[in-house]
């Protein structure tokens, strides 16, 4: 069942004299509970697509159907209410939080805005969310600055699932984490997907990561989707040059060969 259908999305940035075409006729679909990996070299337009889908910036043209909504034409109160359904996790584990926030207040915001729960029940819910992402409930009173990067990314995930979304857009969500932490976070994401049927648009320039989590992979190059198919196919038999060079760039780990 199609959850997200993007058709002919375009976006040009006009900075200085020369406009940059960041998205050029981008179309893709994502089914409920599935992960679409989005690969592409730096500057290929991945984050631009993410920001447009998250309604953080306007598109120049094209159309997005998300659940039952004409997503790009929602505005005001309607948009704010529907935002519960599409959440995000970003790369910068520190920048994603108000420096004055505590772990508890970060998780309280989405609950206060979208759930009917009273303050007491929200506290219980916050403890449950923390527990679900593998953190101790006692962490709720800590300043967000005083928890580690891996813990912060768990808090970001808890914030994203707090509104019970059907789609989470993850933009390089594990790229800043070191390898051991990365693996536990990926495992947590896969578990949450199986448990709650959340779909992911998983952006990464790292094909090894994408292969581990994606059902399908799309490859972007210079603002266009140049290839899209089942994860295995794209990685084993890349058809486009962009995909081939990304595959070639995957580090082959050799231990005492």
């Amino acid at each position: 069942m199609t959850l997200l259908a993007v058709s002919s999305l375009t976006k040009r940035y006009v900075s200085g004299t020369r406009p940059v075409t960041a998205l050029d006729d981008v179309s893709l679909t994502l089914d409920r509970g599935q992960t679409l990996g989005l690969a592409g070299v730096s500057g290929s337009g991945k984050s631009t697509l993410a920001r447009i889908l998250l309604r953080l910036m306007p598109a120049d043209g094209g159309m997005v159907r998300f659940e039952a909504d004409d997503w790009l034409s929602l505005s005001g109160r309607d948009l704010r209410r529907r935002r519960a359904r599409m959440q995000m996790v970003f790369q910068d584990v520190l920048g994603a939080f108000n420096p004055r926030a505590t772990v508890g207040s970060v998780l309280d915001d989405p609950l206060r805005i979208h759930s009917p729960l009273k303050e007491r029940d929200r506290r219980t819910e916050i403890a449950a969310l923390l527990d679900r992402v593998g953190l101790q409930a006692a962490l709720a009173t800590r300043s967000i600055r005083d928890v580690s990067g891996g813990q912060r990314q768990r808090v970001a995930i808890a914030r994203a699932i707090a509104t019970r979304p059907s789609l989470i857009v993850l933009d390089e969500a594990v790229s800043a984490l070191d390898v051991s932490v990365r693996e536990t976070i990926l495992r947590l994401l896969v578990e949450l997907q199986q448990e709650r049927g959340i779909a992911y648009l998983f952006i990464s320039h790292d094909l090894a990561v994408l292969r581990a989590v994606s059902h399908r992979i799309a490859v972007m190059d210079a603002g266009r989707i140049v290839e899209c198919g089942p994860a295995g196919d794209v990685i084993e038999r890349p058809r486009s040059d962009a995909a081939r060079s990304l595959v070639a760039a995957v580090p082959r780990l050799v231990i005492r060969g």
Partner: protein, 284 residues
């Protein structure tokens, strides 16, 4: 409390804080330290300092107690300085926040108003307003504030423009937070600290402006101010220079005190920020 300890951690801050506390105490307890109306005649005219124990700093040409004038003048200066700075920063912060957060036409319009106020010399504006609206304390405060709010507004807008691009503001939007709540809860508190460091300069300038207005005879005539005292001393500057020098010294000390406190706060904030970075630690 951390901020207080940080201010005392710097030499400027420590000296400034001690002096300012002293000035504030003098201002608060002026009626106790020097009871009665300082504008009443207290003894023979033009009594020089240290010639009578009851009137240690002497009297002016009308026989009014100079010490009483300086003590009550502290009250006027600090009140006007703090009130005007508070009003200027409050107004500047609101306008800057509105301009930076709304962007587009609202921003454009508000910033043209800011430009206009920044081009007008603050003192002339205050002069014009007080001569039109009459010399009373609230008018003086308002007049000074109107000449001082443009700088905080401009800084606030710049802060807001940079902060509103941060990921955590994007996160708040994605969460579905109302724009007003985002402005007040996410942006305002993080944009404010550098703007507050302007406070010292504004307070000092406001104190000077108030004195200058009074010097020109545009202060509230029912209140003692250092500016009026300096102006009245001018007529007998040769025979009794202390009448202008003493309130002048009080003015200089107060302005320097405010400046020192401002330096202390600025340094403490900078250190506080460095401390935060230290505590972030490595990723993961």
């Amino acid at each position: 409390m951390r901020p207080v300890r940080l201010i005392f951690g710097t030499t400027e801050g420590a000296i400034g804080a001690v002096l300012l506390s002293l000035l504030v105490l003098i201002a608060l307890f002026a009626p106790v330290l020097s009871p009665g109306d300082p504008l009443d005649i207290a003894g023979p005219p033009l009594l020089h300092p240290f010639s009578m124990a009851r009137l240690p700093l002497g009297t002016d040409s009308l026989g009014r107690d100079v010490l009483a004038g300086i003590i009550h003048g502290t009250r006027t200066s600090l009140t006007v300085g703090l009130a005007a700075a508070f009003a200027a920063i409050a107004l500047g912060v609101c306008i800057g926040l509105a301009a930076g957060f709304s962007g587009g036409l609202v921003d454009e319009a508000l910033m043209r108003v800011v430009d206009a106020f920044q081009i007008l010399p603050g003192f002339l504006l205050a002069l014009a307003l007080v001569s039109v609206a009459g010399a009373s304390l609230p008018v003086v405060v308002l007049a000074i504030a109107l000449g001082a709010w443009a700088a905080p507004a401009r800084l606030m807008r710049a802060q807001v423009l940079s902060i509103r691009e941060r990921d955590y503001v994007a996160a708040a939007r994605v969460t579905g937070m109302h724009p007003l709540e985002i402005a007040v809860k996410e942006i305002l508190p993080n944009a404010l600290p550098p703007v507050l460091t302007l406070a010292a300069v504004i307070v000092a300038a406001a104190i000077l402006t108030e004195s200058a207005l009074s010097f020109l005879g545009l202060g509230d005539p029912n209140i003692v101010t250092w500016g009026t005292m300096i102006a009245e001393g001018r007529n007998v500057l040769r025979s009794a220079p202390f009448l202008s020098v003493l309130p002048g010294l009080a003015l200089v000390v107060t302005v320097i005190t405010v400046y020192l406190v401002g330096e202390g706060v600025t340094q403490a904030l900078a250190e506080g920020k460095a401390g935060q970075v230290d505590r972030q630690g490595p990723t993961a």
